[in-house]
Symmetry: C2
Subunit: 400 residues, 2 copies
């Protein structure tokens, strides 16, 4: 298949592109380097050094003999989107190209507006371009399990049959997203569902859990193929951050009680799920939703697993939760559709965590302790980003 990966320079976009390339697909990647720009803005950096996109593409050529075609541009530029679709003529577009951090979207008014405009307009432009250029293109869109929030009933995959006052209908599952970022994904899902209905487009919404891990069979082939590893308070995800904290001797920071439970998956399963969605496309006019995670854990359980795996001593700290979220809640979410398509999950175990800890250990001299602490408060309308420098100046030695 011809597959275009939008956001193909990012944490998951890049390894997905390589995986699809090695699996025999013709792959193009599109990126505007917004993700690298956020690091510059915040004064932080990926733990694992990463090469530039053109260098990555060149190394992949050399190592694999396979070509990935890079396109540099912005999805909010409608003409660029149409031009790339016409030029690459994909069968499938995999869309990772969104601002994907909840804390980043909650920094202040400008970041909230940026996140929603960037994500919603980029996706709208893509829908129009697909409808204009080739409505048979299958859109595989990265959503998030966070769209659902934490309802007190089972979470289904996108739709729920509701019986009410003696009548029954299958309706979109009610959403209760927890940040302006998560809201942008809900907006996207609604826009995409509508485009499938009016224009007969085909789309798969992958409501993904929290991803952990950094190594994939393809990125392991050369250091310049590595993908990024975020551990900072804004873009770092929970398990990756806990591993960094363990290795550098910083207490593991749990927000609130730690009872918050979320769906999670291994980075290698992200690649497998995206490929399964691509090779088993939605029907024309179909908007389908897959819940893309393999296991659920509470934050406390994750912390305990790191404590149990790390060879040295690890302390656990509970911080005031900077987010507004339920800390103890019911959580049971369906995730059978990708398993039905053949997904064989990599489940989280001590060996996975060990390899994560090894990744961190190799780059421990790059850890910036000042970047870890959460600085964005949901209850405030404006938070100051503690850049590496200022945080270091402000914090006590015991605090780092």
């Amino acid at each position: 298949m011809r597959i275009l990966v939008l956001g193909g320079d990012g944490y998951l976009g890049w390894p997905t592109a390589l995986h699809l390339s090695r699996r025999g697909h013709d792959v193009g990647v599109v990126d505007n380097f917004a993700r690298r720009g956020y690091d510059l803005e915040m004064g932080v950096d990926t733990l694992v050094p990463i090469a530039g996109l053109q260098r990555r593409v060149r190394v992949w050529d050399e190592v694999s003999g396979l070509h990935v075609e890079p396109y540099v541009g912005d999805l909010t530029d409608a003409e660029f989107v149409s031009r790339v679709l016409r030029d690459f003529a994909p069968d499938t577009v995999v869309h990772f190209a969104e601002q994907r951090s909840a804390p980043y979207s909650m920094i202040d008014q400008k970041h909230a507006v940026y996140t929603q405009v960037n994500n919603v307009v980029g996706t709208l432009n893509l829908l129009y371009a697909i409808a204009d250029v080739d409505p048979s293109i299958h859109l595989v869109k990265l959503g998030t399990m966070g769209e659902y929030g934490t309802p007190n009933i089972d979470i289904e995959e996108g739709f729920i049959e509701i019986t009410h006052r003696g009548r029954t209908d299958l309706l979109p599952y009610p959403k209760q997203p927890g940040s302006f970022y998560h809201l942008s994904k809900v907006h996207d899902s609604a826009n995409i569902m509508f485009a499938c209905r009016i224009w007969g487009l085909r789309s798969t919404d992958l409501n993904q859990g929290i991803v952990y891990g950094q190594e994939t069979p393809e990125t392991d082939l050369h250091p310049d193929l590595a993908t990024r590893f975020d551990y900072d308070g804004v873009f770092g995800t929970v398990l990756n951050r806990f591993c960094v904290q363990a290795v550098v001797g910083h207490p593991i920071t749990i927000y609130g009680s730690g009872g918050q439970t979320r769906g999670m998956l291994d980075i290698r399963d992200t690649l497998a799920c995206v490929e399964l969605a691509c090779t088993n496309p939605a029907e024309a006019g179909e908007f389908r939703v897959f819940n893309q995670f393999t296991e659920s854990f509470s934050v406390s359980q994750l912390a305990q697993m790191v404590v149990d795996t790390f060879p040295g001593r690890v302390e656990v700290d509970h911080l005031d939760d900077p987010r507004v979220e339920k800390q103890e809640h019911y959580y049971r979410a369906a995730h059978t559709k990708l398993l039905d398509l053949g997904l064989v999950p990599h489940l989280l175990n001590q060996s996975t965590i060990s390899s994560l800890l090894q990744v961190v250990d190799r780059h421990r001299d790059r850890v910036d302790l000042g970047a870890i602490r959460p600085t964005v408060q949901w209850r405030a309308t404006s938070s100051t980003l503690a850049t590496a420098g200022s945080a270091t100046r402000e914090s006590e030695p015991t605090d780092a």
Copy 2:
């Protein structure tokens, strides 16, 4: 109360401002004249001539002895929004200031993106400004019954109790909006609900039906207090348009079978509902939803009522439905919350339609037949607007 009406120069915003002013509230109006700009873009005009905002305000001063404070600016300008809230210091903000035409949002990519960015960013800026300036301000937001679509179960007011696999929760009612405009209102509702949750804001979402009528006790006091009357294929709403067609001897144009059923209300009830929402504010942290309509009618029923009321002969034409919508469907929607607060509806009858027909008759020389036909096709990604001139040139005499 001090009430700031955003979009206070528009079809409903202006008469709402006058009504609230006459009821003893201190009223300010904010507008960027976007609505007048759409007319210029499309080459159409309101059937009833309207004065400029500053002139309207001056006449209201003279006629009533009451002052309405005008602010000219754009909600997508965050600094303007904060400045106005600080300056006027409202107890309540009534938010009409959105692009409100479904066909306009479906013209093409630019109009879809404009509609969603204008509406979503304006509302986001407002939420941030309220949280910063005074979180006790009550936000009364105009939504639409079109957010719900036409599910096969009863529509409730914003939330629905769902029992699923033995567990029960009260969840946001699933939405199935039918245009990029309606989607923008769904996005707004989700953003507002979240802001109430994290910042303790108070908001009432008024999911309004289709409004008919043009005269209110206040606008009737002077010709320069009149509000607009739209009958064109893009901004004209169904009953207003049917009355124009009857008066000028044009067949009434039903899209499709006419089985489409919608909630409707008299313009005077809009004013009463908004005032009831203002004077009975939501609690701090509360996001509540009122379904703001008084009766449901199918399009065919409305056409028949015009046929029965108009003294002359009226033909009825069925056009291919330019929209993608169910033409025959179940429709039963709750609307008790505003009645519980004391709303006494003006129900639709021959006398209401007669006065509408009289309004049209007074201005029948201003009717542009070329503007009536629907030009925006939901199934197309780009529609040409038939401006008055080109439509007149293109249409056969029998067609007008």
